[in-house]
Structure formats: structure tokens, C-alpha cells
Symmetry: D2
Subunit: 403 residues, 4 copies
């Protein structure tokens, strides 16, 4: 195994026209495995259960990922103490961030992957704190990333381009390459800034790579990045493109994405994309000129492997994980039942429209649309746990009649 020092950096690879395969979603995968709590979605498992986090990193590496993103999603100090969260007090944000860096580096060194330190949107911004206050939050994480010498940085999961720009400006202080992705769809950010304009502003703020992650499905995300590409071209601004979408079908989402769907987060199962959906996503992203192609919530290792398999002709090799997967289902040649062996081909899976097995469920939902955004009292950070009285107000607001 080559030492990390010998590896080509992010920009060298992108400049050379290489495809960068990102990893998948940690919080959702680890929630299902029992190590992350839905609600706070914070990454204390890096300290509490490092072996579980390490295993997931290894699976993504084996699936073909070129990036090990530090498991530092929502690991800003203000988030770790929000609404009764114990992590800031009992563990500390510093320890969580450090542990996440160590694990990512360890696994990255087992293969040809880079370590990316990641920051994401903060409760402080939603609570209308000042630019310098919010930047101070990001800087705290950045100090650790610099100390641990990550290979590059990612500002991701921002609903407001303004906050993302603040993050990029902080991260650029390090001199390392910076990628920035918003969790927006074709309608733009929550302040109504269009995807094209968002991309231009992020690139001008210093982001080397811009794109989207989370909140929307692969096809919608490609549509959004297409708008970003057009915006960049129109403004004659250069940046690499990235997509790290959901692995959930979201044709029925509004502007805020899958958070608003009634199924979020505990009944999204019927929306999970298949590996064949990912083949199409990888091809479409590649054809659009996206060089950094990964996934977010819902992406399991086999989804990342599907990106690597679809783009194997371009990359020239299959990922290690393909030793346990015949491309386009060809492993089924070894199945006992002959009618299953008859499915060992591309045409079969490419054309299949999978049934839901749920005769009492519809194909689409009506998203919640409360029209609540930055600055609203209900979005404010609070240290104390949500009280029963606060909940009852919300329960009354959300009638169960709607489904």
C-alpha cells in the first residue's frame, strides 16, 4: 500500500480528468446499525463506537470510494449541545472531531483514498447569529482538521448559500482544496438564490468544487447541478462539479427536499434506490461532466460500488468489492433456481420496474410545507430538550388527518 504522502491530491486528480468517487451516507447507515440517533443525527459514535465507524469506512473504500469523509457531520459545538444533546458536555466536540479524523486517516491509508474534513450547516446560523459568530464555529473544526492534516475540506449540507460562503471562506484559510455542496434542488436555496447563482458565488468565494448533496434524489440532483454548470459557464467562472445525492426517490419533494416528506426519516424504505438506479445516475452525472460523484443519506456500500462498476470502463478498473458482485447481476449464473439464473443480464435489470409490495400505499406523498425558515422561533437553537408543552403545540399543528 502506498503511503498517503505519495498519493495524488484532489486537484491533481481532477485536473487530470479523473473521476473521484465519494463515499456514502454515514448518519443514515449508522442509524440503521444502531450507532446514531435520528433527531440529533450527531457523530459521537466516532468516540463511542470507533470500530463501527471504521467498518463503514472500510466498506465504502472497498466499494470504490476515493474519499474518506471524516464522520463530523453536525459536529459543530453548537449542534452538539442543541435541544438536550449530551455530547458537547460529556464528550466534547474536539474529541469527536479528532476521533473522526483518526479513523478516516487509518482507513484511507489502507487504499487509494483521500481524507476530507467536513463541516455542515449550524444551528447558530438558523438562530441568526452574526457572521463572525458562525465563522468561529467553523474555525473550531478547521483547527482540528489542520492539526490532523486532512487532504482537503468539504463544506456540505447548506440550505442557504450565504452560510456556505462563510464556511468556504473559513476553510480556505487553510490553503487546502475546498469543495462546497448545498442541499438544494432546482428551485435554489431557501433564500431563493438560483442554483446557477449559488455555484458562481461559491466558486468566487474560493470553492474549487461546487455541487449538491442530500435532500433530493439522484435525478433531481443532476438537474440541479446542470443548472449550476450553466450558471458557471454563463458567468465564465471555473469550478469542478460534484453530486452526492440521496439514495431515496423524491419526485414529490418541494423546495426543502426529503425532510418535508411525511416518511422522513423512519419510513423512507420504499423509496430506496436500487443499484440499477445508481448505474443510470453515475452515467448521467459523468455525461454532464460531474467529476466528483458520490452519495449521501441512504447510500450504502453497494450503491457506491454501482458507481464504480458503471464507470469502470472510464476508470479502467473495478473496485475491490466487485469480487463479490457480478456486474449487472451476472453472479446469478451461480444461483440454484433456473429462473433466477435467467436474470443474470443487463437487459433484465435495466428494464425492470420494481413493485412496492405495498398495495395500500400510494406512489407519492404530499410534503409538509410549514413555510418556516431561518429566524423563525421554531428553528432556534436551544440547549434544553424540547419540552412536552413545545411538542404539544407542534402535534396540534400537524393534524394526522393528512394521510
Amino acid at each position: 500500500m502506498a503511503p498517503a504522502a505519495a498519493k495524488k491530491g484532489l486537484l491533481e486528480r481532477l485536473d487530470a480528468g479523473e473521476i473521484i468517487i465519494g463515499d456514502g451516507g454515514f448518519v443514515f447507515a449508522l442509524e440503521k446499525r444502531g450507532y446514531v440517533k435520528a433527531g440529533p443525527w450527531t457523530p459521537e459514535a466516532a468516540v463511542e463506537h470507533p470500530e463501527a465507524v471504521r467498518q463503514l469506512h472500510r466498506e465504502f473504500l472497498r466499494a470504490g470510494a476515493n474519499v474518506m469523509q471524516t464522520f463530523t457531520f453536525y459536529a459543530s459545538e453548537d449542534k452538539l449541545e442543541n435541544r438536550g444533546n449530551y455530547v458537547a458536555e460529556k464528550i466534547s466536540g474536539q474529541k469527536v472531531n479528532e476521533a473522526a479524523c483518526d479513523i478516516a486517516r487509518q482507513v484511507a491509508n489502507e487504499g487509494d483514498a483521500l481524507v476530507a474534513g467536513g463541516v455542515s450547516q449550524t444551528p447558530s446560523y438558523l438562530s441568526c447569529k452574526s457572521e463572525s459568530e458562525v465563522k468561529a464555529i467553523f474555525r473550531k473544526q478547521l483547527d482540528i482538521f489542520i492539526n490532523k492534516d486532512v487532504d482537503f475540506l468539504i463544506a456540505e449540507y447548506f440550505e442557504h448559500v450565504e452560510e456556505a460562503i462563510w464556511a468556504v471562506e473559513v476553510l480556505k484559510e487553510s490553503g487546502k482544496p475546498v469543495a462546497a455542496s448545498l442541499c438544494i434542488g432546482p428551485e435554489g436555496d431557501l433564500n431563493g438564490v438560483s442554483p446557477g447563482e449559488c455555484a458562481v458565488r461559491l466558486a468566487k468565494a474560493g470553492a474549487d468544487v461546487v455541487g449538491v448533496n442530500c435532500h433530493f434524489d439522484p435525478m433531481i440532483s443532476i438537474e440541479t447541478v446542470k443548472l449550476m454548470k450553466e450558471g458557471l459557464e454563463a458567468a465564465n467562472v471555473k469550478a469542478y462539479l460534484m453530486t452526492q445525492p440521496l439514495a431515496y426517490h423524491t419526485p414529490d419533494c418541494g423546495k426543502q427536499g426529503f425532510i418535508d416528506l411525511p416518511e422522513f426519516p423512519f419510513a423512507l424504505e420504499p423509496r430506496v434506490v436500487t443499484r440499477w438506479d445508481i448505474h443510470r445516475y453515475a452515467r448521467d452525472a459523468y455525461n454532464l461532466g460531474v467529476q466528483y460523484i458520490g452519495g449521501c443519506c441512504g447510500f450504502e456500500p453497494y450503491h457506491i460500488r454501482a458507481i464504480a462498476e458503471e464507470l469502470a470502463p472510464e476508470r479502467g478498473f473495478l473496485p475491490e468489492g466487485s469480487e463479490k458482485h457480478g456486474s449487472w447481476g451476472s453472479g446469478l449464473e451461480m444461483h440454484t433456481k433456473p429462473w433466477v439464473r435467467a436474470r443474470a443480464r443487463r437487459e433484465y435489470w435495466k428494464e425492470l420496474h420494481p413493485a412496492s409490495g405495498r398495495p395500500y400505499c400510494s406512489s407519492m406523498s404530499k410534503p409538509d410545507a410549514w413555510g418556516v425558515t431561518k429566524g423563525d422561533a421554531a428553528l432556534m437553537q436551544q440547549k434544553d430538550a424540547t419540552t412536552e408543552a413545545q411538542l404539544n403545540v407542534l402535534f396540534a399543528k400537524k393534524s394526522l388527518k393528512s394521510f
Copy 2:
């Protein structure tokens, strides 16, 4: 942690009226993680990637499972050399079985779980080998289980009760408790033996616990076990009951279960059951008198945790994994968005009918029904890989027009 020796055995627990929570499905979970090949579905990962297998065991333990089933599904010698499989030659069945036992024991010792050695249906039976030949296959695995001193034995995933009885007869030679589960639905086994009759024959052959696993969804499996219970009562034969169903909705399955569905095995995603479906399953199974409640293909750790959470009032405690899960979604109280906090309650999730997000897909499929069963040439074991000519015959038989 108490030494294994101090643990109560399976029958002691069942006699005391305790609920035994089984673990989930290894081959499907590890296929998604990149360590099992769909098609052969064999468990060589126990040797090749022990840390991945160990991690999954730990997740199920943490989710509340009382049983660590050795990862020996399809680990019979004849299966490991079927249709071009390299495992028998390159690794050996003995090593796979031994490694699986060691991992299961290690993790079981980290908690209050028992180790169960498992055997499953063989290509030899489908190829019409004699009773003594088939029994010799089982005995090879049993020798290792005895040597590794597993706590009890499971004969599972049998489509023909006759073969299951042969397995039970072999396993009983050990003197250890034996559980037996068929992969059948309410229509009975592939020879047309009814569930009630199957249960009686298995119990008479020596099985202490009888039931079903795999091939059908939780609700259908409960229906089948209900027929087993009635058969046992009518025959005045005593046995404990077990269910380890799929975590896939299969209302459209025929007699052979989910193998026949066009979505098997690579497009089952929209059928995955939610944790709330599992709550209902656990309650219904308990109400029916099933004491051994677990899962099979598709069951992830969070599904097993849902069994443990639903039955926490009866068992008196929550599983360790619930430290990262508010029962019935109460962890959402900590979510940033108020309309998601409004989902932090049982009534919400219990009533929700999740949408598929797939407007071009139907709710049900027409299963393949080739009418091929034991003894058919197409089901015969063969050491060589399936040839292209053999595949073309199958491809021609299976027109793609059907969907």
C-alpha cells in the same frame, strides 16, 4: 460479562416463558456491504473478512438478539463447490464453518447471547441424492459445531420437510437442542405437505422448536406459523414456535416465495419493511404464542431492535442499541425542523402509509412460476460454472415482455 457457561440454555429460557430474539439476515446484509456474492450466497466472508462478519454480529447483539447464529448458511461442502464456486477448493468448507463458529462465540460472549450452529438445504437433495448421502453432508457440519461446542442447533431454510427431517435427525445426534424452520408459506412445502403436518413431523423427528424462516413477509409467516400451531395442537404434539421472516413485503408471492418475484434479488428495495411494520410483527407473533422471534433476509439491526423495543414491556428492558433510538420516533424531539419534531409520536408512525416515490411502478408483481422442482435437470448440482449455452436456454425461456 458473564461467561457463556453461566448462561441459561435455549430450553431453559423457553421453558421459563422467555422471549428469544433471533438475529437478522447475514447474506443479504453482507451482500450490500460487499462481502457476499448474490447467486452463490455462500459465507466465505467468515474466513476472508472476519471483521465484517464480527461487526454485523455485534450490531445484532446490540439490537437485542439473544442468538448469534453461525454464519454457515449454504456452507455445506456440496454447495461450496456448486456451479463454479471456488470456496470448497480454495478455502474448504471446514475452515468456513470453523471461522463462523469462532466469530459467533466471540461476540456471544460479549453479551447474553447463545451460539446456534446452522445447516440449510443442500444441492444434493435437489439432485435426488440418497438420504444417507444428504445426511453425510449435514454430519460434516455438525462435527464442527460439536467440536466448537455451540449452544444449540438450527436446521433452517428447507423447502421440503423431508430434507428438514433428515437434518433434524442428524442434528439430534449431538444431544443439543434443535430448532427447525422451513421456508414455506401457508400453502405448505414444495411437495404439498401442509404447514400443520410439517410442524408435526418436525417435532416428532426431534425438533424442540419449529417454525418458518425466509421466503415470505412477516404477516404471511405469522399466518403460516398459526397453521403450524393448529396442526401441533390437533395432533397433541408439543414444540416451541419460531418465526424468522423476510423484511420484504411479499403479498404477491406464490408458493415458492420471494425467489420467484421478478425483483429478486437486486430490486427488492421498495419492499423493505419499516421498523413500524416490525413492531406489528413482533406484537402479533407474541400474541400468537411464538417465543422465538427473529428475522431473515432483509432484516437489518434496526429491525431486530424494533422487536426488542416492542416487546420491552414483556421482557422488562430495552436493548443496548436503544440508547441511540427513541421508542416510536421520540428521538425526533431533538430535530431542528419543527414539522419533523411533530412526528415524534407513536400515532404518527403507526398510521402512516409510506409512499414509494416510484410513479411508474406498480404495487405488485407477477411472480415467475416455472413449475420446476426437486429432480428437475435445471436444479441439478454441477461443479462447472453455468455455461453461456445453458444461460441462453434460460434467457430464451424468460421473455422480457412480462414486465
Copy 3:
């Protein structure tokens, strides 16, 4: 046009092995046209708007129907004065029945059709009136049918075979052929009498033709009649078979049929069967040996024509209405758009699975199941209109949460 006198009677035709094509559903078709009120479903239009009733008869005749059923559904005196209905008092049951006979005869004489006088279940029976009281109700209608010299009689839409037998016994007094059909599914009548047993009892009571109508879709109805056929054969009792099912898909119905579906009666649209569904129904019914093949609620003239077109090879001719319909869509050869001309063939329509165009709707519903049957206070006949207080009790019972 041959005079009616010269026509072969029902039994002559059946004895000769001829297929009898019934007509479609009057109350639902005329409700949509504006002449029948959903709720009471009574046939006063025969007096109030004879031209509308006559036109519908003509359309069914043109579509190939061999029977003009008098529009006397629910035309029993007790029904016409139930729950505030004005017909008994303002028009009289006698006039409604007479007008219906006259119209049916007029149109029957325009072609090769027979007139069938029909009676159906009574509020008196549901209100636990005595056998002689209920029979007196039927006899009132029969007197008119005899006076108007209909060709044969039909007792249809009975949920309890007991009441149907009473009807058959009364109708047989006329000496005319009698057909009897229950609105039951494979689970049998509301007293739990199996379809096979129902058929035997009806035939023994004197019915020349037995079968089912209404309440279930064509495929389920064929299943029920199959059970009737098997019952008759087992009992060595002879009767001709008939089916007049709904033109609505009802895979989700319980024992009481489509009345219990939440969509009944004003949102059944997405369930309407296509003409191609009817082709399959006609063929399956014919293959089972059903000789009297028609339709009930939802059957429009084009559905009846589809029966006649499917069975044209057996009958030797197409119906008059086929001059405006190319079999299996061949009329599309004349369409302007080439891709629509490409649909002018059997293979196209036979394989098509039509989409609902309703992305927020499921494929199946959960039927209401109040467990209310004969004798329950809520089913009692009452002359007065339902009061607001009575309604409020029902509204409170039926929570809107269920969908």
C-alpha cells in the same frame, strides 16, 4: 323484425347450447346520466323519463344483449317508500313496474331479445319480516310481470340465499323460466352458506339458471360461480349458470363486496374495467361453462359489446354495435397520429397495464367492516327520512382518519 312470439325462449336457447348475453347495469349508468338517485337507487325514471331508459335499453340491444331486463331493480313497494322515498306515494310501485315492462318489451321487439322481469332483495327481509310478508312483496311485482307477459323472470341481488329462495318460489308460480343470482363472493352469503350450497338450494327451489350478479368484479365472480358449479355437480343437481358481475375491479373487497369499499358509490371511477378486461371475462366465463353472461353496475354498452365481440367466433356473428368498433382496436388504423395507429392490434391492448394517473392514490383500499347484518337496527326499513341525529351517530362512528 321478427315478432316476439316467433322468438325462441330462454330454455330453448340454453338447451341448444346458445350463449345468452345479458345487459348491463341500469342504476349506475342512469345515475351518471342524471335519472337515478344514488342512495335509494330506485327506478322511477321508467315513469319520469322513459326516453332515457329506452335509449339505454337500445344501446344494450345494439351492443349484443339478448335480454332486456325490466328496469325494476328495487321496485318493490317497501323499498319505494323507505327512508323518505317519494315514489310509492307520488307514483306507485305498480306504475313504475308497468312502465318498465312496456319499455323493455318495446325495445326487445326491435331485435332478438327476450324480456326478463326482475325482483331483488327487500328492506322487509332485512327488517325480519315473515316469509309470507316478504313473499307478498314479490308477488305484487310478479302480478305485473304476468300481466305484461314477460318472457322469463330473474331474482337477483340477494345477499341471503334464504330470501332468494322465497323469491324463486314466488316467481315459479308463474310457470315461466326463472333465473336466480346472488350478490355474493367466494365466501358465500351473509349467513355463511357457501356458494356451492347456495346454488344447490336455488336449483332445488326451482331456479333454471343460477349464478351471481353485482358486488364483485368479473374475475372474483367467475371464481364464485366455479364454486357453484362444483356444488351442483357434487350434489348431482342440474342448473344453467349465469354471471352478471360489476365492471369495477374489487380485489380488496371483503365478504359484502363493493358496498364496503370507501369509494362506493361516488369515487369508483379508477376501478372501471376496460373492454379488454371484459374480453378476458367473457372467455373465462365461457370456458367455465357459463351460458348466461352479462353485467351489472358499471357495465356500459361498450362492455356488453366486448362480450359479444369476444364470443363472436362461437356465436357466429358480431353485434350491430360493432359497426362502430374495430375488434381489438383495429379502428385505430384510421387515426391521424401514426403512433396511435400502431396500437391497432390485439397484442397491444392485451398486454397493457393501464396507469391510474393518480400518483397520490393507492392501488387498494381497506373496506369498511361494520359487521352489521340482517336484523340490526341500523338496517331496519323506516318510512321517514334519515334524521340528522341518526346521521350524526353514523358520522361519529365513521372516523375520517381511516384514509
Copy 4:
């Protein structure tokens, strides 16, 4: 009944702010009744079966329609002789148009309805005939309308605004009021002219009323007319608005509307809108300022009645047909079964999402999109019937695999 002479004209009514309720779709309704052939869709029934046409007129009048549109859809001479159609030769276009006028006038005189003479798009235009040739076609029909003294004129079902303008220019020669509606959606006409621009051009050509009919569902059509309204306002051009949409849900249509759906025209059943969908349509249209509200293909009399019932508060009266319909299902108060009486209320029907009863069907389809438009050889008028060779080319082009 007041003589026609005493009736207020179209413009007087519109100027006075009255709502004009249009009638429903004749070709689809009469196809189902057996009098129109799908494919040619021509209106020779006006001559061949006048009583059937008259009856449908009466039903729409009774349902509340203020307009009796002459049944002259596709009654241009060139269409009546297209692709083997016998009408031009055996009957003549003149007779068809005259008979249609007579029937419409007869029924209009039975109530407060106006007679509208209608022309629609021509094969000549699609075959690239000159403006004067196409106009000559329209003028032939207009001569008859003038001779029969219709009350106003409608140019409807045009896919190209250019042809519609030619039609309007011809119709204006009569001095009578002219309404013009295109069968377009929000994407505009087939030459890419936006709805707003189309509306402006039509109004400038002399149309007093502009809007859309056919091809799209009510909600999409309202969206299109909204764009028309905005275009008119922006251009400061005045015209009244009209909508006569399909009664089929078409969320999955492309630019050419429902013709492209695989279900057109023989499997549209699951898409039929309910009366409650129409309530919403009528309210939304009214709120947008549309004064002429009717329907097209799929609209049955009960759909038109639903417009009249929804707008009864504004119009001050219910239609005659409501004597057989309790608003919002209140007639169900008279139903025998109590759980059906519990549905006798607005809240019930308003919230219901009807199931399709079709578990093997999806909610949406992929439209055909052949990219064929005006001038393409495959669209050319031809007197001879489509030959088998021509069909085979089309069949080969349209693989059946697509569904």
C-alpha cells in the same frame, strides 16, 4: 319554455358576468354507447342515430349546460373521407352538419341553452395545404351554421394556433360571436407558441372567448388558461376565458397531451375523474376568472352537473338533474347500509383518495413521443384505408417492450 329568440346571447351573458356552463364530450361518450368509431372519431351518428345524439344533448342540458354544441367534431369534408372513411361518400358532410344543427337546436329549445356551431382541426392543415384551401374547408361548415342560424361559433381542438386563427377569421365572417380553444398545455402549441401568445393572437384575430379544450386534465388546463390570462393582461388585450378539459387525469402527459399516453383511447378508465375532482375544477376555474366552464372527452352528464352544483351559490340555482343527486353525496342518507349513510357528507368525499383496484398497474405511464408533427409523411391525409404494409411499419416502430 321561452322561444330561442327570447334568449340572451353569449356576449350578453358574459358581459353580465354570468357563468356559461359548456356541455361534455360527445365522441367519447357516444363511442361507449356504440355510435362513434374510435379512430376516425367522426360524427355521422347525427344522421345515422339521431335519437342517441339527441338523448346525450338532453342529458347535458338537464345537467346544467348552457350550450348545445353541434355534434360536428371532425365533420370537415376532408376528415370524412380520410383513411377509408365512408361518410363523405355515403352520407356527405353537408347532411352530417345539418342534422347536427337540427338536433342541437331542438334540445336547446327545451331549455335555456344556446346552440354553438363547431369546427375543429383539419387533415388538410396537417398535410400542409394552403391557407385558402384550409379556410375553404371551414367555410363549407360555416355556410351550414349560418343557414341553420346557430347562436355562436366555436373553433376548438387546434394543436397549432396558426390554423385556429384561420378558423377564427373564417367564422368571424358570419358576424356571430366566436369562441376559440386550443388543445394545448402549459408548453404551448406544437410550433412552440406559448399559451399567452396564442391567446393574444386568437383575440386579435377576432375571438371573443379564448381558452383550451381536450388533451389535458382539468388542473393542467387551468394552469394553461392562467398563462393565457397573464398573456392577455400583459398585452392589454381583452377576451373572455374558457376551459373544456378532459375528464381524465393526465399528470404524465407530454406536450401533445393524452393522445400520446399508452392508454389512449381504450384503457383510459382508471384515469376518469370523479365528480369531486370536478367540484375542485369548477371552483378553481371560477376563481381564476374563467366564465365559460365545460368539458371535453370523458365528461359525462354527471361531471357537467358537478360544475353546476359547485357553482350553484354563484348562479343561484341547481340544475334540473340535481333532483336526482344530493349535493356532496347527501342522497346517501337514503342508503340501506349504515356505513354508506355515513358517507353522506362533503368532508368524506373531499378527502378521499380513491384506490385503483389495480395492484399490477402503476400510477403513471411513459407517453409515446415520436416527435412527428405537421408535414410529416405519417400525418398526411390519404383517402385510402391504411394498408397492412403501412401498419407493419408502425408496429415494428412501436416495440411492445415499452410497458
